[in-house]
């Protein structure tokens, strides 16, 4: 164990980096880029320290600090990582330098752009490491603002509408969560505290639990997003600039799933158990609906956005299915989806920079002029649709396996979703990169530049690595996953009726 | 008891009626006169409550001094000369002269008799009743200068604010256009009323 508070440094380094960026004159775009890249790379390197020092065999929170913050209200600054948040932190720090690379073409108003991007990183990291509900909420909402500005300023034509929708959807959910947090705070029998680990034991009646669970669930379900609440996502994804889409898909959506795992289930296990069928139904609907709608999209970014809905459905399914395979698979899938969808957005962003259109029909035959781009795209698409040997397969297989153990028949629609994924991704690939060249501009598309290769290579390596050898990842996930599964399955004296009923069919 | 109710009823009608009439009157002088009627009606209300001193003050200060000031201001600002010439009530002027003469005679008489008028006879009795120990003036003084000392003093601040406010507004009114000159008088009204 190192004495160095790696975790806190990693969280706040990007924020400190904004000061550095602030010092650079706004005309020196090159220096701004390099500065942002340097800050994010250093953050990533330091976050490797977290990975090194992480103790594999335990489900406890590690490497954190705990300092009193506002003792009058029982608020402390408490951080820590476990197997779930570790990978989320790593994913964020890993993707951030790549997002900066993907933003190389941002010339307009580059200074505030990089400042907001770095602020966003601190907000996201903060959410993953907070173990105090107040602190968590602060980061949770604070990460909204930079994302809102990123979409709204540097997005495409409909950006203002998309940014507004994104902000308001999320805000309504979060405010309901805030009420639930406060309710929980005042229900705690001991001296008032927002400390997550202490609040875990709060005795609550089932009715109260149900209400509070729904309060938290409202917030997380919007973020995930689960189906009736998903409409902000296609807009936000489509209109956001490339780096924004990458961070949205790869990290922001995971906040929802992470919140379910970290807060909604452990704090209100009885209510969660009772509502398993509901959540699973929503997840399945998300899988099938997202995939089906993705097939008919004409806009490439919208297609990827809908594919995210389907993938996130898988993750929620795994989390709520109540078996260790499902839970670990879900968590691993969070990582996988971040990598592959992030890469898809980067690749398409690169393509967009060359052709300035998002319509699939405007492309065709791109592979002839940009073979490397096409190859990489295919590779990532295969990972996303779950080809064995690549990362997506591991996660989705584990989720299906876990589901099969507990709710046999639910596997059918879920597996159907995978087939649909193959259809929309491969079909889109075919239409963009092969087929007849309808537009001469497609003939002159330059292939991947070295910067873009550098940006994509680490992701490709990881995709292959997780696909072949996921053990180091699963080893760290499993203890924590097991803990949550136990909470979901038999945490209290309540009869197993709810689970038993769901088991019966 | 019943006479109280009857007086109250009349007072009620008069006060309310003249207040409403004040709102609809078009002539500034009429407005001021209706206000006088309202104030006198309120004085009657105070009398009904046995607050003789306040009733008198109400008439002397509000119906008397302040309203006369109002009328002066209105006159100075200039009532239309044509209005002064036509006379809706025939014989108004001679009547006014006659009443004024009567008032002057009354004042002269009182001045001639001097303090005898109130220190002897029924007047003396009434005055003594008024000044009997828990009487009006003393009771009021006791309350105002002891328990309600602070509110009493705060009122003076309130008046200072009102005066300063009038000064500011008057200066600004003259700084702008003649359009707002009309509302100038109403602003003065409001400060006085406060």
């Amino acid at each position: 164990m190192s004495e160095w508070p790696f975790l806190d440094i990693v969280v706040f380094l990007p924020l400190a980096g904004t000061l550095l960026i602030g010092l650079i004159p706004r005309a020196r775009v090159g220096a701004l880029r390099i500065g942002a890249l340097a800050v994010t790379v250093v953050t990533f390197l330091l976050s490797l320290g977290i990975l090194m020092n992480f103790d594999t065999g335990t489900a406890d929170f590690q490497l954190g600090t705990s300092v009193e913050w506002i003792p009058e209200w029982g608020i402390s600054y408490i951080t820590g990582v476990d197997g779930v948040s570790l990978w989320m932190v790593m994913l964020t720090t890993f993707l951030m330098p790549l997002s900066v690379l993907a933003s190389w073409s941002v010339e307009r108003r580059a200074k505030p752009y990089f400042i907001f991007l770095l602020t966003l990183e601190t907000g996201l990291l903060g959410v993953f490491v907070s173990l105090d509900l107040f602190l968590f909420y602060v980061f949770w909402e604070a990460s909204l603002v930079p994302m809102y500005l990123l979409i709204g300023i540097w997005g495409y034509r409909n950006r203002v509408y998309a940014a507004m929708k994104f902000f308001l959807f999320t805000l309504v959910g979060s405010l309901l969560m805030l009420v639930a947090i406060l309710f929980l705070y005042f229900s705690f029998p001991g001296s008032p505290t927002f400390n997550y680990q202490e609040l875990l034991g709060t005795p609550l009646s089932l009715g109260t639990q149900r209400l509070l669970f729904l309060g938290f669930f409202a917030s997380f379900a919007v973020k995930v997003p689960l189906v009736p609440l998903h409409t902000w996502l296609p807009d936000a994804h489509t209109e956001a600039p490339t780096a924004g889409s990458v961070m949205l898909a790869a990290v922001l959506l995971k906040l929802g799933a992470y919140g379910l795992i970290r807060f909604a289930i452990p704090l209100f296990p009885d209510a969660a158990r009772e509502l398993v069928p509901l959540v699973m139904t929503l997840a399945i609907i998300g899988i099938v609906y997202g995939a089906a709608v993705a097939i008919v999209q004409r806009d490439m970014k919208r297609l990827i956005a809908y594919s995210s809905i389907a993938h996130l459905g898988f993750i929620v399914l795994g989390v709520f299915v109540g078996s260790i395979q499902g839970m670990s698979g879900g968590i691993l899938q969070m990582l996988n989806h971040g990598l592959s969808t992030g890469a898809l957005f980067m690749l398409f962003g690169a393509l967009y920079e060359r052709r300035h259109t998002r319509r699939i029909a405007d492309y065709g035959g791109v592979a002839r002029s940009a073979p490397v781009l096409a190859g990489v795209f295919l590779f990532v698409a295969l990972s996303s649709l779950g080809l064995p040997g690549l990362n997506g397969f591991v996660g989705e297989f584990l989720v299906l396996l876990g589901t099969f153990f507990r709710y046999r028949w639910w596997v059918v629609p879920a597996a159907f979703g995978i087939i649909l994924a193959a259809i929309y991704l491969l079909w889109a690939y075919k239409r963009v990169f092969h087929g007849p060249i309808t537009n001469d501009a497609n003939l002159r598309i330059p292939d991947l530049r070295p910067r873009e290769m550098v940006m994509l290579a680490p992701i490709l390596v990881l995709i292959a690595f997780i696909g072949v050898y996921p053990k180091p990842f699963l080893d760290r996930i499993e203890p924590s996953a097991q803990k949550v599964v136990d909470q979901l399955r038999d945490s209290s004296a309540l009869p197993e009726a709810a689970v038993g009923d769901a088991d019966a069919p | 008891m019943s006479i109280d109710v009857a007086v109250f009823g009349v007072m009620f009608v008069v006060v309310l009626g003249s207040s409403i009439a004040m709102l609809f009157a078009r002539n500034a002088v009429h407005v001021a006169l209706f206000l006088v009627v309202t104030q006198i009606g309120l004085a009657v209300a105070f009398l009904l409550e046995g607050a003789y001193f306040i009733a008198a003050i109400q008439i002397i200060v509000y119906a008397g001094a302040i309203m006369v000031l109002f009328l002066f201001v209105i006159m100075l600002l200039g009532v239309d000369r044509r209005e002064a010439l036509n006379e809706p009530l025939r014989g108004q002027r001679p009547l006014a002269v006659g009443l004024a003469a009567l008032l002057a005679a009354e004042v002269l008489y009182v001045a001639y008799k001097g303090s005898d008028l109130i220190t002897t006879g029924g007047g003396s009795q009434a005055l003594q009743d008024l000044n009997a120990d828990p009487g009006n003036v003393k009771a009021l003084a006791r309350v105002v200068f002891s328990r309600y000392l602070l509110p009493f003093e705060v009122t003076s601040i309130l008046l200072v604010v009102a005066v300063v406010g009038v000064m500011v507004l008057a200066r600004q009114m003259s700084a702008i256009s003649p359009v707002s000159a009309r509302s100038g008088s109403s602003v003065a009204d409001k400060e006085e009323a406060a």
């Binding site: 805000l171 | 003084a141 601040i157 604010v161």
Partner: protein, 494 residues
């Protein structure tokens, strides 16, 4: 027979006296020295007066008693509000100085009226008798009516002053009627009662709780009068017009000051004096609170003028403070105080930015004038963003904490549904704050300014201070909430 003159101790109203004396001195000095080009001594003197009042208010901290025959309460609550008001006053004086210099309309009366207004508001905070509440209300209202009309060459300003005055006197009439009814119902107007005479509640209890109907009616009338001052729906009609017409620094002062003064009186009246009758007044106040939150938030969405927008936002905020008032517990009262203090600073900061940007004659205040502001003047836009986010209740700002504490208090008291209403309306409200952000960040400037208005040094200072306070109180708010909590422990008699 001799009068028994009561013991006159002035510690209770020392801050007010300091302010009034300074104001008079200031008016005299201005009259004596006449029209000079640079009358720097006026704001300096005003600042000294406000500083003195802060000193006196701090001196009174920790004592809990009634003074001047039970007319004023000297307690932590009053001290807290008075100090807050003095700070608002300081910010207003500094902002006003820059504004007046820019408009070439510097007049001693401006500072004098601000000081008188602050004095009236302070008296409101300490008032322990409805008569004093009424006089304090009148004093600061009168000063505000005039201040609203302080924009020369602007008919809009005169008009809004007139409107504000008319509606204001209407509401004061309600308040006065309420006092009369209270007196009729229980035979006392004192909030606490003591050796000098019985209080409202003790008299009420003595009469055998028979006339509760009349008392509730009276309470309703009092709430109308005070609700007007804090801009609660349905007594809010004046707010948008007065906010729009008033000079921007005055608007900020009005938003910050009359809100805290009005709520101070409401808190003392409802949460202390009438606490035993809380089940009777709660339905009424809950109705007002819900209406206020909903109407304020919804109507703000369609505004195009920044000052009107902030006016509706101020209405919505009154509704949020009401939730703390309704909770009526320690956290509710201290939370409301915290809310009002932080809201005041934030809103003053916001109006400071508006004042700087509005240009000569204070006229560039529509959303159109804010297009692309961030790229033109990043620091001002950044500060305004911070204030707006604070008003919207986004974390890391004081506005978030304020919402947290008042909604927390409501939840603690079992009114979680009220908190849900508050949250939903906050989300609606967020929409229009975001609208301003959209304009500032996501739209392009249309035309270049002919003349670029500079932010005066004092305005810059005020904006900086307000921004700093908004952030610091959002991150490290423990000490202030602690002070607010201790302030409510020292409620005289309660």
């Amino acid at each position: 027979m001799p009068l028994d003159i009561p013991a006159v101790r002035l510690t209770g109203i020392a801050p007010e006296i300091a302010l009034c004396a300074t104001a008079l001195l200031l008016l005299v000095i201005d009259a004596v020295l006449g029209e000079r080009r640079n009358r720097w001594y006026l704001p300096a003197l005003a600042s000294i007066g406000l500083g003195l009042s802060i000193y006196f208010a701090t001196e009174a901290w920790g004592t809990t008693r009634l003074e001047l025959s039970g007319m004023v309460a000297v307690d932590g609550f009053a001290s807290f509000v008075k100090i807050t008001l003095a700070v608002f006053g300081l910010l207003t004086v500094w902002l006003g100085r820059d504004f007046l210099v820019r408009e070439r309309a510097e007049e001693g009366e401006f500072y004098g009226l601000v000081l008188f207004a602050v004095a009236g508001m302070m008296l409101m905070a300490g008032a322990a008798d409805l008569i004093v509440v009424f006089l304090a209300l009148e004093t600061f209202s009168l000063a505000l009516y005039v201040l609203v009309g302080f924009r020369r060459r602007s008919l809009l300003s005169q008009e809004s002053s007139m409107k504000y005055f008319l509606l204001g006197s209407f509401s004061t009439a309600f308040f006065l009627l309420g006092i009369a009814f209270v007196y009729g119902a229980v035979g006392s107007t004192n909030l606490y009662g003591g050796e000098d005479g019985p209080g409202i509640v003790s008299s009420f209890m003595a009469t055998g709780a028979s006339d509760v109907g009349l008392l509730i009616l009276a309470m309703g009338l009092l709430i109308v009068g005070l609700g007007f001052k804090v801009a609660a729906v349905p007594f809010h009609m004046w707010t948008p017009d007065a906010y729009q017409g008033a000079p921007s620094p005055v608007t900020g002062f009005m938003a910050a000051g009359s809100k805290i003064a009005g709520f101070a009186a409401l808190l003392r009246l409802l949460d202390v004096t009438l606490y035993p009758l809380r089940e009777d007044w709660r339905p009424l106040v809950i109705g007002v609170a819900v209406l206020t939150m909903v109407v304020g938030s919804v109507l703000a969405v369609v505004q195009e003028d920044v000052k009107r927008l902030l006016a509706y936002s101020s209405i919505a905020h009154a509704g949020f403070v009401f939730t703390g008032l309704i909770a009526a517990n320690d956290r509710g009262v201290s939370g409301s105080l915290f809310y009002l203090a932080t809201y005041g600073i934030t809103v003053l900061g916001a109006f400071a930015v508006v004042a700087v940007l509005s240009g000569r004659d204070d006229e560039k205040v529509t959303l159109r004038d804010y297009r692309g502001l961030f790229y033109d003047r990043p620091l001002l836009a950044g500060a305004l963003t911070l204030f707006l986010l604070s008003l919207a209740g986004v974390p890391v700002t004081s506005g978030f904490v304020a919402k947290l504490v008042v909604f927390g208090a409501a939840i603690q008291e079992g009114y979680w549904w009220l908190a849900v209403v508050g949250m939903v309306t906050s989300a609606i409200a967020a929409f229009f704050y975001l609208k301003v952000l959209v304009v500032m960040y996501m739209q392009e400037k249309e035309t270049e300014d002919a003349e670029r208005v500079r932010s005066g040094p004092l305005s810059t200072g005020v904006i900086g201070l307000a921004a700093l306070a908004t952030i610091v109180l959002g991150l490290y708010w423990g000490p202030l909430i602690d002070v607010a909590e201790r302030a409510t422990l020292f409620f005289a008699g309660g």
